[in-house]
């Protein structure tokens, strides 16, 4: 089994990607259901209740419906780019799974540049959004796409700067190495500011409310995916929720100890459950925020990044560098 045509490493990679793909799909279905349940309970209503116990199969039914729907191509749209964009938006997100440290040994490919890889690929998403918005030849879609680019550029910087301060501390870009070092103390206690900046920037990166201005449904109808129907829309949806999982999983690995228990106490629970529990808790927090706050305005969003987040993260980075040097 191990010495096949591609060799053990290659086989492991392919198997891993297949598992990651199925995990991503199931995860998205679960997250959409969770989102609807969380929003429902926040809004004093039960959420989906009809399909399956407490509506757990609702999103599966919705997904089936989406697959069955016609893909409508707007008259003046750029056909190639229009259909390329949803694929382009989903693929890089999937690559992120390659390096996520679910538990010791349960990593598809433990690279020493894992952190870099995740962020490098997540940047491609914004290109895909721009492509989709442009190819739709719709004014709302174009406005949404343009907003998205500006927003992603502005929030990529504090995001990476926050991550950099962790990297400076541990001298490594490998996820498993970073997680191992948090066996006793999670980095959130050493780098609270970086953690906060990361979470805010990550919310903006994934276009989640209150930073969901690229799709701002009350202003731009549906922003960059206004013209998408059926699975084209479905892939955007899938990408959004998978992306959410990735940023929360990265946050778990970088700041909340990954598969480690709190202060080295693991209560006998396997590491993968610690990891998933923390990741889903962060996702829950992001949902909670979405259903509580109104949306910020575009210029306020940019101001917040350039005038608050970036200076703060720079200061944090400099202080980290100095402290690391002294120690």
């Amino acid at each position: 089994m191990s010495e096949g045509l591609l060799g053990f490493e290659g086989f492991r990679l392919i198997l891993g990607m297949v598992i990651a793909l199925s995990f991503a799909s199931v995860n998205a279905l679960f997250l959409v259901w969770l989102e609807r349940k969380v929003s429902g309970h926040i809004q004093l209503r039960p959420g989906p209740m009809e399909v399956g116990p407490h509506g757990v199969l609702q999103t599966a039914a919705d997904a089936l419906k989406l697959i069955g729907k016609e893909l409508i191509l707007p008259l003046k749209a750029d056909k190639k780019l229009f259909f390329l964009a949803p694929v382009l938006v989903f693929t890089p997100v999937l690559v992120g799974f390659l390096v996520l440290p679910f538990s010791p040994g349960l990593i598809i490919h433990d690279m020493n540049l894992g952190v870099l890889l995740v962020f490098a690929f997540s940047t491609i998403t914004v290109l895909a959004i721009l492509t989709g918005g442009w190819a739709s030849n719709n004014k709302y879609a174009l406005l949404g796409a343009v907003r998205s680019v500006a927003q992603n550029v502005a929030y990529e910087i504090p995001l990476l700067l926050a991550v950099m301060s962790i990297v400076l501390m541990v001298h490594s870009l490998s996820f498993s190495h970073i997680v191992v070092l948090q066996k006793n103390v999670w980095f959130v206690f050493l780098q609270p500011l970086a953690c906060l900046i990361y979470l805010i920037a990550a919310t903006a990166e994934t276009n989640r409310a209150p930073f969901d201005i690229p799709e701002a449904e009350s202003e731009l109808v549906a922003g960059f995916h206004t013209e998408y129907s059926g699975m084209g829309f479905g892939l955007y949806f899938l990408a959004e929720y998978t992306n959410m999982f990735i940023v929360c999983a990265v946050a778990t690995s970088l700041f909340f100890g990954g598969w480690n228990g709190l202060f080295g106490i693991s209560l006998g629970i396997p590491g993968v459950f610690w990891f998933l529990f923390k990741t889903y808790f962060l996702i829950f927090v992001i949902m909670w925020v979405r259903w509580t706050f109104p949306r910020v305005r575009f210029d306020q969003l940019m101001n917040f990044s350039w005038k608050v987040m970036i200076p703060l993260s720079l200061v944090n980075l400099v202080i980290t560098a100095i402290v690391v040097k002294i120690i």
Binding site: S218, E219, V221, W291, F293, P294, R295
Partner: protein
């Protein structure tokens, strides 16, 4: 993008057709926007998609037959319009209304005002991206609809008032439900304050946005909460008291700057004042008839004209009717507050962002079919 045109300075203008099918144009409003980036250069509201010809219908019907139309002019404050029409006809025909009916009308009208404001509250927050307050507000509004349902028999397009009173007396159940609602709202105001009024993002989204000052309001005939937000305590319930408003103790909330935040605060406090009015009216409710006896089925008021103003949820509304002595009006004109309130957008929108345009449109609380009539 072949639609790009250039302005006088040679810059390219991105024209955006906002509506009529758009999530936040509140009915069927279409605004032609010329954009420079995300900034609005020129805004041209296009209305009339909901024109049903209520004025023409009024002229072709007897007074009584027009009664159900009235609550469909502004369907969010239907009872207020229903009330206003009855007031106008009573004035014209010289019909006396029993005391108890006057109180009942005020209670029902104020309940309707709260429900209208609650709907505005919810949809406004929806416009600026907060979905949860919308459902909270609808939850509360549902209680009002239930209360009004018990006496009027309908939930949205009420036809409760009659010439000379109201069609049905209120009972202990209505009073109990109203009291329970007032009690419930006490706690809800605090919830709303915590969730919305004190929310930093909300304040940043609304402060200094879409300022309508006193002079601009006067130029365009802006009335209602939008006018009060710029510090003018002009309220028909106070300036030309009808029914029993002069016997009830309530404040007229005003703002200072006339921005979206002021408009929000004014409406928010108005809901609380309406609760106060209902509370007092329930306390003072006299016994007696609810419908004046001997009002003929077919009214034929004397020749002449009537202009009867009342405060709807959106501002000064009025029925202007001219009678030729027959059983229907010769001319039936309806002055609607949203007309002036939307008209002012021609001046307010240029120079703002698209996101602000939505916020401003939401904050002035227009009901487009009311303008279209």
């Amino acid at each position: 993008m072949d639609e790009l045109v250039r302005n006088e300075a040679g810059d390219r203008i991105y024209s955006l057709n906002l509506g009529p099918q758009h999530p936040s144009t509140h009915g069927v409003l279409r605004i032609l926007l010329d954009l420079d980036g995300e900034y609005i250069v020129k805004a041209d509201p296009v209305i009339g998609y909901g024109h049903r010809g209520h004025e023409k219908m009024g002229e072709n019907r007897q007074y009584k037959q027009f009664l159900p139309n009235t609550s469909r002019i502004d369907y969010l404050s239907g009872l207020l319009y229903n009330h206003g029409f009855v007031l106008a006809v009573e004035k014209l025909a010289g019909i006396k209304v029993p005391e108890r009916a006057k109180f009942i009308r005020v209670i029902a009208a104020e309940l309707n005002r709260i429900s209208s404001h609650l709907l505005w509250f919810g949809t406004y927050l929806l416009d600026i991206g907060g979905i949860t307050p919308f459902l909270y507000a609808f939850d509360d509004r549902e209680h009002i609809l239930d209360i009004l349902d018990t006496i009027t028999g309908s939930r949205l397009t009420y036809s409760y008032c009659r010439f000379g009173g109201v069609c049905r007396d209120i009972d202990w159940k209505f009073i109990e439900m109203s009291r329970a609602f007032l009690k419930r709202m006490e706690a809800r105001w605090a919830d709303y304050e915590a969730l919305v009024t004190k929310n930093v993002i909300f304040i940043h989204r609304t402060r200094d946005v879409g300022v309508i000052d006193r002079e601009l309001a006067r130029q365009y005939g802006v009335t209602g909460p939008n006018l009060r937000a710029c510090g003018v305590p002009f309220d028909v319930r106070r300036s030309e008291p009808y029914e029993v408003y002069d016997r009830l103790d309530f404040e007229i909330p005003t703002g200072t700057k006339g921005d979206a935040l002021d408009r929000y605060n004014v409406r928010f406090r108005e809901m609380q004042q309406s609760c106060r009015i209902i509370d007092q009216a329930l306390d003072q409710l006299p016994e007696g008839e609810v419908l004046a006896p001997k009002v003929p089925q077919k009214l034929s008021p004397p020749k002449g004209e009537v202009y009867s103003a009342f405060e709807s949820a959106r501002g000064l509304s009025a029925y202007y009717m001219v009678s030729d002595g027959s059983s229907g009006p010769y001319r039936c004109h309806i002055r609607v507050p949203s007309f002036g309130n939307l008209n002012v957008l021609n001046d307010v929108l240029p120079g703002t962002l698209v996101a602000d345009a939505i916020s401003i449109l939401g904050s002035i609380d227009v009901v487009i079919p009311e303008i279209d009539r």
